[in-house]
């Protein structure tokens, strides 16, 4: 089982141009993803966003409600028109007041492949193995503090509770 990476595929019944625009245009991307960004996407650019309610899905919007307004930063990597769009972010960065800038990022890559009846969009998120366990646990709890890479080393040597 691959613990470092998640990959998803979806067939979209829409023209390639339309799918690309929904990814590469920061306003369009934001409206389905559920974020509002401070400007257009460009390779290498660091974009600030805030979590906003997503369109068209009330249940998800409700679940996201407690995160509404949470700031989020993404760094755009590559943009190959109608083919590939990638960016980096901090996947569990939902605690207010923390500076995540020194922590590892995961890489999100969208690729588009034209098929007979539409576009197969593949999205992968990778780099989870570098995210220390304590950071993942803190995504669930309200507590927060700094952590280091060594936590990952230590976890291998912990004794089990009887």
């Amino acid at each position: 089982m691959n613990t470092d990476r998640i990959e998803k595929k979806i067939l979209l019944h829409a023209p390639r141009k339309r799918v690309w625009r929904a990814l590469a245009d920061s306003t369009e991307f934001g409206s389905w993803f559920g974020m509002k960004f401070d400007g257009p996407f460009e390779p290498g650019a660091r974009k600030r966003g805030v979590i906003v309610p997503t369109i068209a899905d009330a249940e998800v919007a409700n679940a996201q409600k407690k995160y509404e307004g949470t700031p989020c930063e993404i760094t755009i990597e590559q943009m190959e028109p109608e083919r590939l769009f990638s960016f980096r972010w901090h996947p569990f960065a939902i605690e207010p007041g923390i500076d995540y800038s020194a922590e590892p990022t995961t890489l999100i890559v969208f690729t588009l492949e034209e098929v007979a009846n539409g576009v197969v969009l593949t999205v992968s998120e990778s780099g989870f193995d570098q995210i220390p366990l304590a950071r993942r646990a803190k995504a669930f709890t309200a507590n927060e503090q700094g952590w280091g890479m060594m936590v990952k080393v230590i976890e291998k040597y912990l004794v089990q509770a009887p």
Partner: protein
């Protein structure tokens, strides 16, 4: 397991290990119990499992996001 044993084989100080154990304790992954003169650390299995299952939650979030993208481009 005690700190003394944890430091064997690693080029780190007791202080550094202690600091990181406290971080994991704060995160609810570890419990610290006193045994005589030593602190003994125990793993909270369920919390560890929760942290690992976070990948499942992320996976579901992507399912949701892609569903919204589909609605967005196909309408």
């Amino acid at each position: 397991m005690s700190i003394a044993r944890l430091t064997v084989g690693f080029d780190v100080t007791r202080q550094a290990i202690t600091k990181h154990l406290r971080v994991m304790e704060e995160a609810g992954l570890l419990r610290c119990a006193r045994r005589g003169r030593e602190n003994v650390w125990h793993l909270e299995q369920r919390r560890l499992a929760d942290a690992r299952h976070y990948l499942d939650a992320i996976s579901k979030q992507w399912d949701g996001a892609l569903g919204r993208l589909r609605k967005f481009v196909e309408e």
